[in-house]
């Protein structure tokens, strides 16, 4: 049996990760496993930008993937970026195994709002995790602003979209899961 791994990187509250795992298990057809890693990925740190390169972390994670891992989603509290974008909420290997999601810009405090309960944060994390997971199964961004695969370029677009795929993306997602499993069995 294969699992979707949720791997924390940095300082993450266990309760948030557990809530995320619970919410995700209701929305995706996989069993989930949590792995905790408190170390910060300093090898990916870019001092000039005071941010971490998402791709460098992904490459490292891909080299040490567990054998029973269907896909691995790393969750981190550090601020992620790419060489061309000022920041990213997450990054994934398109049609690959690994994705990463940052909760840095998903927290209320980032927008100078008083911290409340973690429901909104977990909701946002769920959306971004499913979004990146979609990329791992080969899905592109969707034009439907309600679909979870809609490109999130601001916190408003994340809050506006749903935690589910639109019909077209759902069909593609399920087909891809079937394809990958058939391929693995062969």
């Amino acid at each position: 049996m294969k699992y979707i791994y949720l791997k924390t990187i940095g300082t993450m509250e266990t309760s948030i990760v557990e809530d995320l795992k619970r919410s995700l298990s209701l929305l995706i057809p996989f069993s989930l496993r949590c792995v905790y890693d408190n170390e910060y990925p300093l090898f990916a740190f870019e001092p000039e930008r005071n941010q971490y390169y998402a791709k460098k972390i992904i490459v490292k994670l891909a080299s040490e993937i567990p054998h029973d891992c269907e896909k691995l989603i790393a969750i981190t509290d550090v601020d992620l970026c790419t060489p061309v974008l000022t920041f990213v909420y997450g990054e994934a290997q398109l049609g690959g195994k690994v994705a990463i999601v940052s909760m840095n810009r998903l927290e209320k405090e980032y927008y100078y709002l008083p911290p409340g309960n973690t429901t909104l944060l977990v909701d946002r994390l769920v959306k971004e995790c499913i979004h990146e997971l979609g990329h791992c199964y080969g899905l592109f961004h969707c034009h439907d602003s309600q679909c979870v695969m809609f490109f999130s370029n601001s916190i408003f677009t994340i809050d506006n979209k749903q935690k589910r795929f639109c019909m077209k993306c759902k069909e593609f997602f399920e087909r891809q899961i079937g394809k990958e499993h058939n391929h693995a069995e062969k």
Binding site: R49, K55, C81, T82, P83, V84, L85, T86, F87, V88, A92, L94, H135, F140, H141, F151, N153, S154
Partner: protein
């Protein structure tokens, strides 16, 4: 829909792969190359929707690439990106025709909007070109069929006047295809890639016609909540077709005359004169000379419009064209409806040729469409024709050699009105004229609905 294609040009491998990965995730078909030479090769060989070019590159910099790309594919939008932004380079890039200038790293919100906008614009340009081609193919004199000497003369005239800039006045009864002739002149002339704007002067209420033609500024009158371009302005560099020119009021005649003389106008409520380059084609079914004599139409406007006249003969003056039109419309509607009706019986053809067609070609077109919809067999039979054609024997019996044309028209309109229980829309459709023209004719001939019989001519 095929994915839009983006060409990325950057000498830094990390930038290339980062940008292409993100663009691919965003649903684009991407190719990334490391220098201008490779990029120009690709632009020459393939079709692209957008190029994203780094400014600082060894050997050939982004501005040089932009200039050369513009020469090869002038319509290809190019975004210049740089990590070393300066006002000078930004100005230079825009001057050289860059679609945008963006600083690396990009704000995700900004870059996604810029790219989506440019790609959508490019898609619309391509769609526009495709539709224009399709339209040009579809047009090709298709509906201007006819082999009668009168019609051949009209076609010859269209070919002669099309390349010129002269104003044309098209004359002919309702339904003879005046707009079709105007479109043919536009399509065959040098203005074919610019708009053909038609204004049915008779169908637009007098109070609105001026605003419709000249446009208005915000606040020019109650309800003018925003600036509105008029049809004259919309037709800039193209053709303005003024249909039913004989129906315009003396006030609009003056405004139109001034515009034709000076080739400039002011929007209603506007203060600045707007210059346009428009070819004017006017059309009328009225006897303008008679109107001038009565003082209803300005003679100076008439002389301005009547530089070249094309007279379209009525269908009854070229009966030999009726079978050609009938076959043509049959083929056209068969294609549209997917029905395989490919023949017209001899008896039906006899009726078609014998009929007077007061609504001209448009009426014949409607009659064939009616027959094709009703027909259950591969051949159009008498029973498939509209009722007024089947019962026309009664009218023909009444025709006397001493009857005038207007008397004939009055009788025929009354007959069709009666046959359709005074349903104006249906009657206008059958006669092949618009509802306004029908109302005018009812008024002109003083036709009234009879309680018992439906009509009292």
């Amino acid at each position: 829909m095929p994915r839009s294609r983006i060409l990325v040009v950057d000498d830094e491998e990390i930038m290339r792969s980062s940008l292409s990965d993100w663009l691919i995730e965003d649903g684009y078909d991407v190719l990334a190359v490391e220098d201008g030479f490779h990029a120009l090769e690709r632009v020459k060989q393939e079709e692209w929707d957008l190029a994203v070019v780094d400014l600082k590159m060894p050997k050939m910099d982004g501005l040089e690439v932009l200039k050369k790309m513009n020469k090869i594919k002038p319509k290809l939008p190019v975004i210049i990106i740089t990590a070393y932004a300066t006002i000078d380079s930004a100005v230079m890039a825009i001057k050289e025709g860059a679609a945008d200038y963006i600083v690396k790293p990009f704000n995700p919100e900004e870059i996604s909007i810029v790219i989506a906008k440019l790609v959508e614009r490019q898609r619309l340009i391509k769609e526009n070109i495709r539709l224009r081609r399709a339209l040009a193919k579809r047009f090709k004199f298709q509906d201007l069929v006819g082999k009668s000497p009168e019609m051949l003369k009209v076609i010859e005239m269209i070919k002669t006047v099309a390349p010129t800039k002269s104003t044309v006045l098209i004359r002919g009864e309702s339904g003879t295809g005046k707009e079709l002739v105007a479109r043919a002149i536009h399509e065959l002339g040098p203005r074919k890639n610019f708009p053909f704007i038609a204004a049915a002067c008779g169908a637009i209420p007098e109070t609105l016609l001026e605003a419709e033609l000249f446009g208005y500024e915000k606040g020019a009158f109650t309800g003018a909540v925003s600036q509105h371009k008029g049809r004259i302005e919309m037709a800039d560099r193209g053709t303005l077709f003024l249909d039913e020119i004989g129906d315009i009021s003396p006030k609009t005649q003056v405004d139109l005359l001034r515009f034709i003389q000076e080739r400039e106008f002011q929007r209603i409520g506007g203060k600045t004169a707007i210059k346009v380059d428009v070819r004017i084609i006017a059309a009328t079914h009225k006897n303008i000379e008679e109107m001038i004599a009565k003082g209803e139409f300005r003679d100076d406007l008439y002389y301005r419009l009547n530089v070249i006249t094309i007279e379209i003969p009525s269908l009854r003056e070229r009966k030999e064209d009726i079978p050609i039109f009938a076959e043509h419309f049959l083929e056209k509607f068969s294609l549209d409806t997917g029905k395989t009706v490919d023949n017209i019986s001899d008896e039906v053809m006899k009726i078609l040729i014998g009929y007077n067609w007061p609504g001209n070609v448009r009426q014949l077109e409607n009659a064939i469409e009616h027959a094709l919809v009703v027909s259950q067999e591969p051949e159009i039979k008498v029973q498939d024709l509209p009722q007024y054609l089947i019962t026309q024997e009664d009218i023909r019996d009444e025709i006397k050699p001493t009857q005038s044309m207007s008397d004939m028209e009055r009788r025929h309109i009354a007959h069709v009105l009666k046959a359709h229980g005074w349903n104006i829309t249906k009657t206008a459709q059958v006669l092949g004229i618009n509802r306004i023209t029908l109302y005018k004719k009812i008024k002109k001939y003083n036709l009234k609905k009879d309680k018992d019989t439906g009509t009292r001519p």
